[in-house]
Each structure stands twice: as C-alpha cells, then as structure tokens.
C-alpha cells in the first residue's frame, strides 16, 4: 500500500495522526463526562471527532489508504502515549479507518466533495457501530435506544468528522503549508483564477 507513497506524504500523515491522537485522548475525557451525564449515548454525541483524522488526511493527501492508515496510526500513538486504553484500541482504529476508506474507495479516490467527506464520516460511524455492537453486545439493549445511539453517531460522524475536518483542512490550505499537496494545489488554483 505504501509503495506508491512519497516519504514526505508518509511523514505528514504520521504527524497529523500524532497531533490528533492527543486530541482524541482529550476528547476521551469529555466523553467520560458525557457518559456520566447521559449514559452510553453520551459517547455517541461526540463520536465523530474520533474519525476526523481519516477525513483530514484523505482530503489533504488524496491517496488510497490515507483514511485507513491515519486512523490506525492515531490509535497506535494513543497506545504509545501511555493511557489506560490498551492495544485493543488499534483494532478499533483500523475498523473506523476502514469505514471512511470504504467510502473514498467507492468514488475510486477521485471525489473529495463535501458530501463525500460527510459520507466518509458516516462510513466510519457505521463500521465502528457494527464493531461496538459485536464487542459490547448492544443487542441486549432496548432496540429503540440502540437505534437512537446509531443515528446520533451517524450525525456526529457527518458533522464532527466530515464538516469539521473539511473546515480545518481548508483553514490549513489557506496558510500555504499544503502547497505541495493536492488540496493546497487545488486551493492555489482557485485563488489565482
């Protein structure tokens, strides 16, 4: 998968993953507070934030595997940073990354419009929910509660990952730091025209 990648792209992907690994850990604390207030659905409200690096990396680098790799690396770094979420987090990261990657794959990694980015966030929601359903046995909860959790997570994936990810990436493109990446080039073209 990495054979066609330039070293520059790999390192930028890793750095993005490292930065967002820290963000993810901070949001885990917020998630715990929301969990205390609202129960299990509390996590779903902000679940989208945990997919954001997939969207940002794919939107900036635009290569097959960007969404999957960035999320997996972010999970690995979360484990390296030494919090109490152990190595099983890497599996969750891979599954979330695959969800977004599946959507980008469906467009053959050609379309990066707002709708596709939001759909990719929702893809991660669907995959992570299926995994949670299996691991934590949501099947035994009341179906209406599980449905509510699912839709909250879906919306969260579309907004907090898709839209916020796009917004941040575009803010970055404006600084000129992305000029050697597809998103930066696209941005430059639009400005000069």
């Amino acid at each position: 998968m990495l054979a066609k990648w330039k070293l520059r792209e790999v390192i930028v992907l890793s750095v993005l993953a490292v930065v967002f690994a820290v963000v993810y850990l901070l949001f885990l604390q917020l998630g715990n507070v929301l969990f205390g207030l609202f129960g299990l659905i509390g996590y779903d409200i902000i679940f989208g934030i945990w997919f954001i690096v997939s969207i940002i990396a794919a939107y900036i680098i635009r290569k097959p595997g960007a969404a999957f790799l960035s999320e997996t690396v972010a999970a690995t770094v979360e484990v390296m940073l030494g919090n109490a979420v152990g190595p099983q987090l890497i599996i969750s990261g891979m599954i979330q990354g695959l969800g977004a990657e599946a959507v980008f794959a469906a467009t053959k990694w050609k379309n990066y419009s707002t709708w596709v980015l939001m759909a990719a966030g929702m893809g991660s929601s669907v995959f992570s929910f299926a995994w949670g359903f299996y691991v934590s046995g949501f099947a035994a909860l009341s179906p209406s509660y599980v449905t509510a959790m699912f839709f909250v997570r879906l919306v969260s994936g579309a907004l907090l990952a898709g839209l916020l990810g796009k917004y941040l990436s575009e803010g970055l493109a404006k600084t000129g730091a992305l000029n050697s990446f597809p998103l930066g080039k696209e941005h430059k073209r639009n400005v000069t025209v």
């Binding site: 790999v10 129960g39 030494g82 109490a84 099983q88 046995g137």
Partner: protein, 259 residues
C-alpha cells in the same frame, strides 16, 4: 524476569487476546480474579510506581462507579427481582446491583490489563518491535517515530502562541462561538507548523539515504525469547482458570450486553 523484557508485540497480542476472551463472559468473579492476578504481576514483575498506576486507573474507577450508580438510577425492574434497598425514586435490586458490579469490574479488569502493558513498554520499543516482528513498513514506523518526537515541540509552540495572544491582548473566550474562534486560532497555526516540520524532516531523512526499503538491518534488535511465550501462556491460562473457577461456583454467565 521482568515485564519490561517481554517482547512488546507479544505483550500487546496477549493483552488483546485476553480481553477478547474476557468479553465473552459476564460475572463478578472472573474479573476480580483477573484484576488480582494482573495487579500482582504488574507490581511484582513490572516494578511500576504506584502513583502512576493509580493516576491511570482513576478515570476507570470513575466509570465503574457510574455503572453501579446507573443501576441504582435506572433499575430494569423485572418479575422476581429482589429489592434490597429503597429510598425515594432510588430502587436497588439484588440483580441490578450485581449487573452493575459485574460491569464495573469488567471495565476495571480491562483497564488493569491495559495499564500493565502501557507502564512496562517503551513507546520506541513497541514501534521497533512492530517493525521487526509484525512487518510494519519502515517508512511508516520511522514516520511515526519522527511525528512522536514532534509532540514536545508542538507543546512548546502552543505555549508561545498562548503568550503571543496574551501580549497582544486577545480577550479570553466566553461564548461558544468565541471558543470556536479561539480553537481555530490555535489549531491551524499548530498544524501548519507541524506539517512544515514534517516536510523538512522527510527531506532530511531522504538526503541521509533513508529509502524505506523493507530488508534493512537494525542497530537495535528487539528479540524473541522463551520469556515472551511464557508470558503468553501464563496470561491465557490465568484467564481460562478464572473462567473455570467462576463456572465452578456457578457465577459464570455469557455476556449479553447488560447495561
């Protein structure tokens, strides 16, 4: 023997397998036994500091307490449940309490296993081992290491930004939209700086002859030895044994997602 010497990949694999097995069961006894076993191992063979350990465990203690508390607040009253305590709208049933305690202990058992891993594994060793034993591509592994080294730099830059904002009299954000603006003011420059640094690092690595080729040799080799498999066997048998003990005393139940 020390837990620090166990191969990081094998250690991670063992923890993941243990947690996957434990997820299938739901009772108070299995997790208690696992917690006792893991804590003993962590302190006898891991020589970790009690303070660090407690600091990492604290959020999970909070979650465990909330599980017990939520069975008090939202009891799923069923036919034949034994009410053991009632006060106003709070009702505690023996069954509900057991569910809550089981869930809480389950969370704590996963947490103690994870903490045993994190406190006895150096991040760099973990990556080197992933590269040498699990065939993680060197390009990505060294990329992650470079990114990991940026964290203190990013933290420093964050403080500089904070001070710069203060010097220029940027008011403290109060409303939500102000907070969003403030977040953007920090996140964008930090990320832009990180990306520029990443590009320079890649250039430096390539100019020093890093190709990312897979058949390379390593200055620091992370080896496999009998200790790794001993650890694997010890942990898995402990899990199986505690499941058996719980079964013997008639507590064992398969997990159906009780909450």
């Amino acid at each position: 023997m020390s837990l620090h010497e166990v191969n990081p990949s094998i250690k991670a694999f063992t923890i993941v397998i243990s947690i996957l097995i434990l997820s299938a069961f739901f009772d108070p006894i299995t997790p208690i036994l696992i917690i006792l076993w893991t804590v003993t191992l962590t302190f006898v063979f891991g020589r970790v500091s009690l303070k660090k350990w407690l600091l990492l465990l604290a959020p999970f203690l909070f979650i465990a307490v909330i599980y017990v508390w939520s069975t008090l607040l939202f009891p799923r009253l069923q036919e034949g449940d034994h009410v053991i305590w009632q006060w106003g709208f709070l009702t505690m049933t023996a069954e509900g309490f057991r569910r809550g305690v089981s869930l809480g202990l389950r969370v704590l058992s996963f947490a103690t296993l994870s903490i045993m891993f994190t406190l006895t594994t150096k991040p760099t060793d973990f990556l080197l081992s992933l590269m040498q034993q699990c065939k993680l591509p060197p390009k990505l592994a060294y990329g992650i290491m470079a990114g990991y080294r940026f964290l203190p730099l990013i933290k420093e830059e964050f403080q500089i930004l904070q001070n710069a904002h203060r010097v220029r009299g940027v008011a403290r954000a109060r409303t939500i939209s102000e907070k969003m603006q403030q977040l953007k003011r920090y996140v964008i420059p930090l990320l832009a700086g990180a990306i520029r640094k990443a590009e320079r690092t890649a250039l430096a690595m390539e100019s020093k002859g890093f190709t990312g080729e897979k058949n390379r040799i390593f200055y620091r080799e992370i080896k496999l030895s009998y200790i790794d498999w001993l650890f694997f066997i010890l942990m898995i048998s402990a899990v199986v044994l505690s499941v058996c003990i719980s079964w013997k005393f008639g507590y064992l139940q398969f997990y159906n997602g009780e909450l």
